[in-house]
Amino acid sequence: MLQKPESGALPIPQAEREMDGSHDGETQALTASQEMAPSPLLQESPEEDLGAVREEGATEPCLTPRGARALAAKTLARRRACRRLDRTVAELVQFLLLKDRKKSPITRSEMVKYVIGDLKDLFPEIIARAADHLRYVFGFELKQLDRKHHTYILINKLKPIEDEEEALRGDGPRLGLLMMILGLIYMKGNSAREAQVWAMLRRLGVRPSKYHFLFGYPKRLIMEDFVQLRYLNYRRVPHTNPPECEFSWGPRSNLETSKMKVLGFVAKLHKKEPQHWPVQYREALADEADRARAGASVRARASTYPW
């Protein structure tokens, strides 16, 4: 039986290429992208009973040996493409887990370079599936740090257990230092001059370039590690002479803790209640309300994970 011309345009040349033994990768990539884009020519034909495979164009029953071979080859190629896609998703999940253990944000270009490769046109689908796995299997939420730079981090969605995390990770002291700095920044109106930060630390016996048994080299920890990990932002204050720099909260701090939590920490340090600082307390309340609203809208979007 002859194929209808409009339905045969794309698939037939592809099938022929497969029978010529063309490069696998090419065929797979093509099949994969055809898989993703809903085809207007998609029709189900009862005569095709090769494992109920949907045809993207060649919908006329191909009962000739050549047609059957083409169909079988296409099915095989599609299966291979799906498996390849599955494996890429799995590799991306592992890559993200490994990178996250070092607490460094992961960029889209890194993901493409080390994992995704020539499937980069499928990046949105791959990363969405990886995010689903991370959420369902491991309890991590993949969050984009900022839209412009395509960097991502993992946030732990499981409820935190104070001493368990510290004992396991051994990051306790360093994160304690970070909390002190976040506290200072918040209480000073969401930014603190570099000089103020060092003054506070000096009162704790911590000097910038003197090796500390808990923090290592504090200057490196704060200026490099915390900034690189996006816990802190560091920028030049304009119109200052001599030039001064200031710290503010980085995007990871906003994700991993909150103004209310940090205010609570500061309050405990001073053995007072958070309400003791009415301005900061009001600001923290407003922040909590914002978060609650943002959380509600996320929950409204149902999870797409099949299980």
């Binding site: 299966r79 799995a90 592992q94 490994l98 253990r101 369902y136 732990n156 409820k159 257990i161 051994g170």
Partner: protein, 266 residues
């Protein structure tokens, strides 16, 4: 596609926390794994009965299958303790180490690995490893630095050190067995009993077959005069005891291991 009728397990926060903590540690002994499991139940589902560990792990593995990873159980080569690690099913060599170590450090590990596999005892001396420092790929490394790197490998449970000599940690064997077999097919040694990769073990002096120490322990458990299973010659080595977890608890030898549970994992 053919419908997959494999029944897939269900993940709850109990399982997720278990996975997260297992990943943090890299590798855990069975006793600590059981404690970890109980801890996860206590935190997330304190009223549920704690599932039998084997079923618990099989359940998680059925979910992990589509991610090409699994929780694998192995046994330490020196004293037969059961250990568990989350391993890659699709082997890409030293991939898990690749995120923690620089190029020259990874190459140092590869060199140590080769020496260990080629050796007769399964151990490579510190001196022999350090002598290869000039051949490393990547940034030039001094011997002093290499000593630190070797210690990092020990801390991260990729190598074990005994009296200045290094061998593979059970974790490395669990994670890299397939890679090692594929990369060094001629040099690799295999246990005559369990057919698994063998780094440390005992060997018959007549016919040369090798066995893991725990395999020797089990095989000769109730024989008064051990004979080589292959050539029947008298087995000349001391037969170790079969590992008994119950005995461990009584003698209170668990304390040193408790410390290792809390030690920081990179």
């Amino acid at each position: 596609m053919q419908g997959s009728t494999r029944r897939m397990g269900v993940m709850t926060d109990v399982h997720r926390r278990f996975l997260q903590l297992l990943m943090t540690h890299g590798v855990l002994e069975e006793r600590d794994v059981k404690r970890l499991q109980k801890h996860c139940y206590k935190v997330h589902d304190c009223n549920a009965t704690v599932e039998k560990l084997e079923d618990f792990i099989n359940n998680i593995n059925s979910v992990l299958e589509s991610l090409y990873i699994e929780i694998k159980k192995g046994v330490t080569e020196d004293d037969g303790r059961p250990i568990y690690a989350l391993v890659n099913l699709a082997t890409t060599s030293v991939s898990k180490m690749a995120s923690d170590f620089a190029e020259n450090e990874l190459d140092l590990f590869r060199k140590a690995l080769e020496l260990i596999i080629d050796s007769d005892t399964g151990f490579a001396s510190s001196t022999n490893i350090l002598n290869l420092v000039d051949q490393l790929k990547g940034k030039k490394m001094r011997k002093k630095e290499a000593e630190h790197v070797l210690q990092k490998f020990v801390q991260n449970k990729w190598l074990i050190e005994k009296e200045g000599e290094f061998t593979l940690h059970g974790r490395a064997i669990l994670e890299m067995e397939q890679y090692i077999r594929e990369t060094y097919p001629d040099a690799v040694k295999v246990c005559n009993i369990c057919r698994g990769l063998l780094i440390q073990g005992q060997s018959c002096e007549t016919c040369g077959i090798r066995m893991h120490l725990p395999c020797v322990a089990k095989y000769f458990q109730s024989s008064t005069e051990p004979h080589c299973p292959h050539c029947n010659d008298y087995w000349p080595h001391e037969v170790p005891e079969v590992f008994d977890p119950e005995k461990e608890r009584e003698t209170g030898m668990s304390r040193p291991n408790k410390r290792s549970l809390r030690s920081r994992q990179h």
